[in-house]
């Protein structure tokens, strides 16, 4: 990163306003094109045969009858996707997940695929494929997978991160540890210690648009892919590597995206569609059904977490210890590691230790879900912190303020913090009217903090000045939450022109250099930085052109309010030249005018949020309704405040669904029982209150405008905030997410039973 990306404290005209989004009309009128909306001449329908077994060896696959069916143009198995990964285990796992090779590892694992003239023929063909399975023992539960005698998924899986190296294989693929100080000495200083085990069930991101793509491979080896994705450059890279193509010969065009939340950072069916197209020599459209999305894309982990925290009577945390077991599906990930890094990150602790265990199970491959792994860890830690506050009779906000991390604190995951924003979010929560509002009957209030890292990454943008002086901005990060509006505002700000003079689009992979994905809350943070630099480069050229038009030294030209202005006594009386005037003269002053930028946008800065939640629990049924919810989070600088608020509200809404309803339910047979939105219920409008937001603006010192990523942190506190609210409503500590009506009712019944037993004993 170069010095000119530092925050300068400038004032803004466009940034911070709330204009209409440029993609809005297309989206509400149905004009916007999503993954399944792309159609090509001669296009075939692709469909995937999936394993009904959670764990089996593939003895053989007979595709002959399917190939003979009229209308079938290609049938593929793993033989059509040979292993070109050259020892890259991460890439091999992607390949094996896209198309099973020797074994299937979960209900829904792809084993073959067809391309046919229509969907009916494709379905018929799938039924004609005969797979001979040797069914193997399976395990889907996180605790059962680490128990003695559990079926082991991979005989070559010896736990990494353990010295000496284990001699026996297990389902614990990796162990990681973070922390500092002397934990046991810290517990010895505690007046109160609470130790509990928590569980959270597996959830899906629940994006409304399923995975969809159209693939077309030409006989000359070049190809095109239209796809809904959070990262078209990453998809290009992975697909090209898996298919043995030159990367630049595969052009990937991103469509509009109907939600991703991390689930579209990974290829699932795209390499299959490309392989089908290559074999059929025709374009192939492949759209996952909802059933397939649930069974065979990437949900987040199910977890089992042990937490132990000690505290003095005066409310100072003396030690914290946590062991976090996260399911990873059948392939190793870093999900428990992220949980271990984030679990205690909100607090200033002298003695802390976290251990993360990546657990392999016969479930779909875990992938990122919005601040991946942090919400579950926060649920466990924030629940115990809340219980400790109650135990010592201290206000939960005050307890957190007393222990909050600050500049100079050694974080629980290692480094010393620079300036951070948890303190202001807690102070804002303490002063928020929500905290002192009266509660009704059967209502409880909870609050919780959350932490996420945020990051930047490789980014480039093009800013082209049209002959009429309007501006075309091309960015390489996918717009998942209103980024085109925000980036147009940034370009307008820098150039000094109105917002409606800028049109921002997302370019395809042939248009721009490599861009990392829109993940890690990086889209607006990174692309705004590159947009500012592109605009500044364009302004340099605009000033040169104005100097030519005036025939004065370029040093005597300044750029102010969208115009070139001549400066100094000698030239100061020249009338300013507008951007439109300079653009119109461009053919004779040197040709087209553009600004480009390529950079690595590091320095995103960590992010904190504090949430407050009121719930009402029906004691007869256990049904819980969130009646009031407030999100407080630092945005650095809110470029388009409406979309920042939208991110805050969206994260909270997803967290509410996760906390109260959503879970993958597996049967004894290892099959997913609720692969659809009727049985896997995400919240709808009637389930939610209006979610209040408070944007704090503490500038990020590593961004010219002070911008921070805002997309992920808002999903971290809700599980704990709701858990604390439910627990506070009835004095029953909830330790299992989702806190569905049956679980709450059971907890209430058990508490009542315990209470009556103790009364009888007394």
């Amino acid at each position: 990163m170069t010095a000119d990306t530092k925050f300068t404290g400038q004032t803004f005209k466009s940034v911070g306003t709330r204009p209409l989004r440029p993609d809005g009309i297309d989206k509400v009128t149905g004009r916007a094109r999503y993954g399944a909306d792309i159609d090509l001449p001669g296009q075939l329908v692709g469909s995937i045969l999936r394993s009904p077994h959670p764990h089996a060896a593939i003895r053989s696959i007979d595709t002959s009858k399917a190939e003979a069916l009229q209308g079938v143009k290609a049938v593929i198995t793993s033989a059509d996707l040979p292993d070109l990964t050259n020892g890259n285990s991460e890439l091999f796992d992607i390949l094996d997940n896209c198309m099973a090779r020797t074994h299937v590892y979960y209900d829904g694992h792809a084993v073959a695929a067809v391309a046919a003239v229509d969907a009916v023929t494709a379905r018929k063909a799938l039924k004609l494929i005969k797979v001979d399975y040797e069914i193997l023992p399976h395990v889907t539960d996180v605790d059962e997978a680490v128990a003695k005698g559990a079926p082991v998924l991979h005989r070559k899986c010896f736990t990494q991160g353990v010295e000496p190296k284990p001699r026996k294989p297990s389902n614990i693929a990796r162990r990681s540890e973070f922390g500092h100080g002397d934990v046991e000495a810290g517990f010895a200083k505690a007046d109160v210690i609470i130790e509990r085990t928590f569980r959270t069930e597996q959830t899906h991101q629940g994006y409304i648009e399923p995975h969809a793509c159209v693939a077309s491979i030409s006989p000359d080896g070049s190809g095109e892919l239209w796809v809904c994705t959070q990262g078209h450059f990453v998809f290009r890279q992975h697909c090209a590597e898996l298919l043995g193509m030159d990367v630049s010969k595969l052009r990937v065009t991103p469509t509009e995206i109907g939600g991703g939340f991390g689930g579209k950072t990974h290829v699932w069916a795209e390499p299959v569609a490309l392989a089908l197209s290559r074999k059929a020599n025709r374009p192939v459209k492949l759209v996952m059904s909802r059933d397939e999305v649930f069974r065979a894309s990437g949900p987040t982990s199910a977890t089992s977490i042990d937490v132990r925290i000690g505290i003095t009577k005066k409310g100072r945390i003396t030690a914290g210890d946590a062991t976090l077991r996260y399911t990873s599906g059948p392939y190793v990930g870093m999900w428990a590691e992220l949980g271990a890094m984030t679990a205690f990150a909100c607090y200033d602790m002298k003695n802390v230790r976290t251990v993360g265990l990546e657990v392999l199970v016969n479930r779909p491959k875990t992938t990122a879900y919005r601040a991946p792994s942090a919400p579950m860890a926060a649920f466990a830690v924030e629940s115990v912190v809340d219980e400790l506050a109650g135990r010592i009779g201290m206000d939960p906000v005050d307890l957190r303020i007393r222990n909050a991390a600050k500049k100079g604190t050694q974080s629980s995951y290692g480094p010393v913090y620079g300036p951070i924003g948890i303190g202001p979010t807690l102070q804002a929560a303490k002063e928020h009217p929500h905290m002192s509002a009266p509660l009704g009957k059967n209502q409880g209030r909870g609050m919780a903090c959350g932490f996420w890292f945020n990051f930047g990454g490789q980014t480039c943008t093009d800013l082209n000045i049209a002959p009429d002086g309007t501006v075309a901005l091309t960015v390489g990060t996918i717009d998942v939450g209103g980024a085109r509006a925000s980036l147009a505002l940034v370009a307008a700000e820098e150039l000094g022109i109105p917002y409606d003079q800028v049109r921002a689009v997302v370019g395809d992979t042939s248009t721009l250099g490599y861009n990392d994905m829109t993940d890690g809350s990086r889209g607006t943070f990174s692309s705004s930085m590159a947009t500012i630099m592109s605009a500044r480069n364009a302004i340099t050229i605009l000033k040169e052109r104005a100097a030519k038009m005036w025939d004065i030294p370029v040093a005597k030209v300044a750029w102010e309010e969208g115009c070139a202005k001549a400066i100094g006594k000698k030239y100061g009386n020249l009338a300013p030249l507008s951007l439109a005037e300079i653009a119109a003269a461009a053919p004779n002053t040197g040709g087209p005018i553009a600004g480009h930028n390529e950079l690595v946008a590091d320095g995103a800065g960590v992010s904190f949020a504090t949430h407050i939640c009121d719930v009402e629990v029906d004691p007869e049924t256990g049904r819980t309704q969130v009646v009031r919810y407030t999100v407080i989070q630092d945005a650095g600088k809110a470029v388009h405040p409406t979309y920042v608020e939208g991110q805050y509200q969206g994260g909270a809404a997803q967290g509410i669904g996760w906390a109260l309803n959503e879970e993958y339910v597996y049967g004894e047979d290892g099959r997913l029982q609720n692969a659809g939105f009727l049985d896997y219920r995400i919240p709808v409008c009637s389930d939610l209150p209006m979610i209040d937001t408070q944007i704090l603006e503490i500038p990020n010192p590593n961004h010219p405008y002070g911008i921070r990523g805002v997309g992920e942190t808002s999903i971290v506190p809700p599980l704990a905030a709701i858990g604390n609210a439910v627990s506070n409503a009835f004095g029953v500590r909830m330790t299992h997410v989702p806190m569905s009506a049956p679980r709450i009712l059971k907890a209430l019944d058990e508490a009542e039973e315990a209470s009556s037993t103790s009364t009888e004993t007394a």
Binding site: S176, E177, T265, L338, Y369, V416, G418, F455, G457, N702
Partner: protein, 83 residues
């Protein structure tokens, strides 16, 4: 050239005889990684796969030209994934 105490997260410690930190002379992240690869070859696969470097609390994942100021806290961490 300044010598830094480079702190390691747990996965890297086995390649440094179990130590929680190593001392490395380096002006930039690039030089730091080159030195680590030479002195602790077991860390090379991690560096190739991606390591995040915290310099005085700011995380750098790709900016290998970032300078390491004298006395700065340098902490190596896993390359974080996001959603």
């Amino acid at each position: 050239m300044a010598q830094h105490e480079v702190k390691l997260w747990s996965a890297l410690r086995p390649f440094a005889q179990g130590e929680a930190s190593v001392r490395v002379k380096a002006r930039t992240i690039r030089e730091l990684f080159a030195r680590l690869e030479a002195d602790y070859p077991g860390m090379a696969p991690f560096i190739r796969q991606g390591i995040a470097v915290s310099v005085d609390g700011t995380l750098y994942r790709d900016s290998w030209d970032t300078e390491l100021p004298e006395g700065a806290e340098v902490f190596l961490l896993p390359r974080i994934q996001g959603g």
